[in-house]
C-alpha cells in the first residue's frame, strides 16, 4: 500500500543572489512497512529530502502525495497537523525538552493533538514501557544516558501511531554498542508494522534497511535493495 508518492520534487534556496539547488528532480514511492535508508555525501540533498518527507518544508516544484493527500499545496496549519499525527521524528541530537521529564516529552505530540490528560498520560507511559524505559518515566533528560534519551525520543515518535518514522542519523551521537541497541529497537518497531525512513551516511547503519536510496547532487543516483547484514560495522575498541 502506497504511503508516500513524490514526483519530480525540486527545492531551490535563495541565499542572497545565489541560488542553491538542494534537490533537482527526485521521484520516489514508499509503501507501508518499508524500511528505507537514504544515503549520500554532504550536500547531496538528503537532509532537504528528509525535511520534505517530514512535511517540515514544502518543495519549490513537484508533487508530494502523503496517504493520498496532496501535501505540496497544504497550509502551515495543515502541515503541522500531518506532522503531529502521521510523522514521528527521531533526531541525531535527540532534541528532547531539557526541563521536562520523559513522560512529558513523550506525551507532547498528544497534547498538541488535543487528547485529554488521563488518556495521553496512559498512552505515553505505555509507549515508554514498550521501549524499555518503564522505570525512568519521571527522569529528566540530563538524568538519562545517551541511549536512554534516544529511546525517549523514539517513544515520542511512536506515541501518536504515525504513518512513518523519520530518523536522521539516530546513532550519530551514541557509541557503537548503544547504537546497535538502538538499531535493534528500530528492527522491533519495523517488525510491528511501522514504516521507517532513515537518513545516514554510515554504510553499516544503512545495511539494516531493506532498501537504500543514494542521493548525489540533488538527484537519486541509485535505488537499490539493501543487502542486510552483509557489510559488517568497522571494528572499534570496546571496554
Amino acid at each position: 500500500m502506497n504511503i508516500i508518492n513524490i514526483e519530480h520534487i525540486s527545492k531551490v534556496y535563495h541565499l542572497g543572489i545565489e541560488e542553491v539547488h538542494a534537490l533537482r528532480d527526485v521521484s520516489l514511492r514508499i509503501d507501508k512497512n518499508e524500511y528505507l535508508a537514504i544515503m549520500g555525501p554532504s550536500g547531496s540533498g538528503k537532509s532537504t529530502l528528509m525535511n520534505m518527507l517530514g512535511c517540515l518544508d514544502t518543495p519549490t516544484s513537484g508533487i508530494y502525495d502523503f496517504n493520498g493527500q496532496s501535501v505540496s499545496t497544504m497550509s502551515d496549519n495543515e502541515l503541522a497537523k500531518i506532522r503531529n499525527k502521521e510523522i514521528g521524528f527521531v533526531f541525531q541530537t535527540f532534541n528532547l525538552l531539557p526541563r521536562s521529564d520523559a513522560l512529558h516529552n513523550v506525551e507532547l505530540p498528544l497534547v498538541y493533538a488535543g487528547l485529554p490528560y488521563a488518556e495521553r498520560r496512559e498512552r505515553a507511559e505505555q509507549t515508554l514501557i514498550d521501549v524499555g524505559l518503564g522505570d525512568r518515566i519521571h527522569h529528566k533528560p540530563n538524568e538519562l544516558s545517551g541511549g536512554q534519551r534516544q529511546r525517549v525520543a523514539i517513544a515520542r515518535a511512536l506515541v501518536s501511531n504515525p504513518s512513518i518514522i523519520l530518523a536522521d542519523e539516530p546513532t550519530g551521537n551514541l557509541d557503537s554498542k548503544i547504537g546497535e541497541e538502538i538499531m535493534q529497537l528500530f528492527e522491533e518497531i519495523h517488525s510491528k508494522g511501522n514504516t521507517i525512513i532513515m537518513v545516514t551516511h554510515e554504510e553499516y547503519i544503512a545495511e539494516h534497511a531493506a532498501r537504500i536510496i543514494r542521493l548525489k547532487d540533488g538527484l537519486v543516483e541509485k535505488d537499490e535493495i539493501g543487502s542486510r547484514g552483509i557489510i559488517q560495522k568497522p571494528k572499534v575498541a570496546t571496554e
Partner: protein, 411 residues
C-alpha cells in the same frame, strides 16, 4: 471553540512549567511589574486617602457657609487693591446682622496666634478663633466634652475657651481638660468644651482640631486691637439649596451697609467653600495626573523589561520551538504559549505588587491618610495582565513565525 479553551489550558500548564524551570529569571522579570504596580497602587491609595481626608475636613466646616471678607480667596486680583479696601468692623457686622433675613446663623470672626499652656505643657502658635456663640451654628462641629460658649459668655467677653481635639491631646493627654484653666498668651481661660476629632490632617492650622475657640471680645481685649483689623462674617444658609439666594441677599445688604452706590463694584468678597473645593480639585487633579504618569512610567519600564526578557527567552529556546513545531505545534499554539508566559509573569507580579501595596499603605497610613479602593485593585490586575499581553506579543509572534527547519539547526 472547545479547542481554544483546551489550548489555553494546556498553554497555561506549559507556561507554568517554563516559569518554574527558570525560577530566578521569572522572579527577576516579575520584579519589574511588581515594583511598578506597587508604586502605582500606593500612589492612588495615598491620593484617594488625602482626598477623603480633605473632603471630611471641609464638610466639618460646612458647604453651605459664606465667608464675607475684604479679602478674596484664591484671587488673581491685585493684592494691593484688596489691601486698600475698607475694613469690615463690628459696627458693620451689627448692621448687617439686623438687616438680613435668610441666613440660618451669622457670626463675626477674627483670629490671632498665641502659645497655649497648661502647667508644664504647651502648644506653640495656636490658631485662636474668636467669634460669637452663633459661630458653632455655622459649622458641623461635634463635641467630645462640654459645650460651646453661650450668648452671655460671648457678649460679656468671658475668658472661656473651647479647644480642638489635637490641642486637647497635647495639653491634657489623660483627657481631663474640662474646667481646667489654661493660659492663652498671658491670659487665663477656663476650658468649657472639647471638640471631637473633626479629622483632616491636611488643613494644618485651619483644621479645627488645632484651634482654640474664644469669644471675639476676648481677642480684642487681650491679643489684638479692634481698630485696623478686618473681620470675616460667616453666614450659614438654611440649606445648600438656599445658598445662592442667601449670597445674593448678603451681597445686597453688605453693599448698603458699606455705603456703595449702585455704579460702584463690591469692595468686599463673599467666599465660599466651593471656591476652596474648585481650587483643591484642580490642584489634586494635576497631582493625580502627574503622579499616575510618573508611576505609570515605572510600570512602563517594567513592561520593557518583560519584553526584553521574552525576546531573549524566545531566542534561547529557538531549538525548543523547532522541536515543538516538528511534533505538530501550530503557529497559533506557539503564540499562545509565549503570550501566556508573559501574561502569567505579569499577573503574578502584579498580584504580589498589589498585596505589597495594600500592606505598605497600612504603614504609610500612619503618616498620611490612605484608602484602598476595590476599583484600584481591579484596575491594577487588569493593567498587569494587559502589560503582559502587550509586552509579550512581539516576542510571541517572532517565536510563532520561526521556520522549524532553521530552528532545529540553531545552536
Amino acid at each position: 471553540m472547545r479547542n481554544i479553551v483546551f489550548e489555553f489550558k494546556e498553554g497555561l500548564l506549559i507556561a507554568f512549567r517554563a516559569l518554574r524551570a527558570n525560577k530566578i529569571r521569572s522572579a527577576l522579570t516579575m520584579l519589574g511589574i511588581f515594583i511598578g504596580i506597587t508604586v502605582v497602587v500606593l500612589m492612588s491609595t495615598a491620593i484617594k486617602g488625602i482626598d477623603n481626608s480633605f473632603q471630611k475636613g471641609i464638610s466639618a466646616l460646612g458647604s453651605d457657609v459664606l465667608y464675607i471678607s475684604k479679602w478674596q480667596w484664591f484671587s488673581n486680583d491685585d493684592w494691593w487693591t484688596m489691601r486698600n479696601r475698607k475694613n469690615i468692623d463690628m459696627a458693620q457686622y451689627e448692621k448687617f446682622k439686623n438687616l438680613v433675613k435668610l441666613p440660618l446663623a451669622i457670626a463675626p470672626t477674627t483670629n490671632s496666634r498665641r502659645t497655649v499652656k497648661y502647667k508644664d505643657r504647651r502648644v506653640e502658635s495656636v490658631f485662636l478663633n474668636g467669634s460669637t456663640s452663633e459661630y458653632v451654628k455655622t459649622t458641623n462641629f461635634t463635641f467630645a466634652q462640654g459645650r460651646f460658649y453661650s450668648d452671655i459668655e460671648s457678649n460679656s467677653s468671658r475668658n472661656v475657651a473651647v479647644i480642638g481635639s489635637e490641642v486637647a491631646k497635647s495639653l491634657f493627654p489623660r483627657g481631663d481638660a474640662m474646667d481646667k484653666t489654661i493660659k492663652i498668651g498671658g491670659a487665663n481661660f477656663k476650658v468649657i468644651g472639647v471638640l471631637a476629632e473633626q479629622g483632616s490632617v491636611i488643613l494644618g492650622p485651619f483644621n479645627p482640631d488645632n484651634q482654640v475657640f474664644i469669644p471675639i471680645g476676648t481677642i480684642f481685649k487681650n491679643f489684638e486691637s479692634r481698630h485696623g483689623r478686618s473681620i470675616t462674617i460667616n453666614v450659614r444658609a438654611i440649606n445648600p439649596g438656599m445658598v445662592a439666594d442667601t449670597k445674593a441677599e448678603a451681597e445686597g445688604i453688605m453693599r448698603k451697609v458699606r455705603g456703595l452706590r449702585h455704579n460702584e463694584v463690591n469692595d468686599f468678597s463673599i467666599n465660599q467653600q466651593e471656591a476652596l473645593m474648585d481650587q483643591y480639585n484642580s490642584v489634586v487633579g494635576v497631582i493625580q495626573i502627574a503622579g499616575l504618569f510618573i508611576t505609570g512610567l515605572s510600570l512602563f519600564v517594567g513592561a520593557i523589561g518583560i519584553m526584553n526578557i521574552m525576546f531573549v527567552s524566545v531566542r534561547e529556546r529557538t531549538r525548543e520551538i523547532g522541536i515543538r513545531k516538528a511534533i505538530g505545534a501550530k503557529r497559533r499554539t506557539i503564540l499562545i504559549q509565549f503570550l501566556l508566559e508573559s501574561s502569567t509573569i505579569c499577573l503574578i507580579g502584579g498580584a504580589i505588587g498589589l498585596l505589597a501595596a495594600v500592606i505598605l499603605s497600612m504603614v504609610v497610613n500612619q503618616f498620611i491618610p490612605t484608602s484602598v479602593q476595590v476599583d484600584a485593585v481591579i484596575i491594577a490586575l487588569v493593567v498587569s495582565l494587559m502589560t503582559g499581553v502587550l509586552a509579550g506579543i512581539a516576542p510571541a509572534y517572532m517565536a510563532a513565525k520561526l521556520d522549524p527547519v532553521e530552528a532545529l539547526r540553531y545552536e
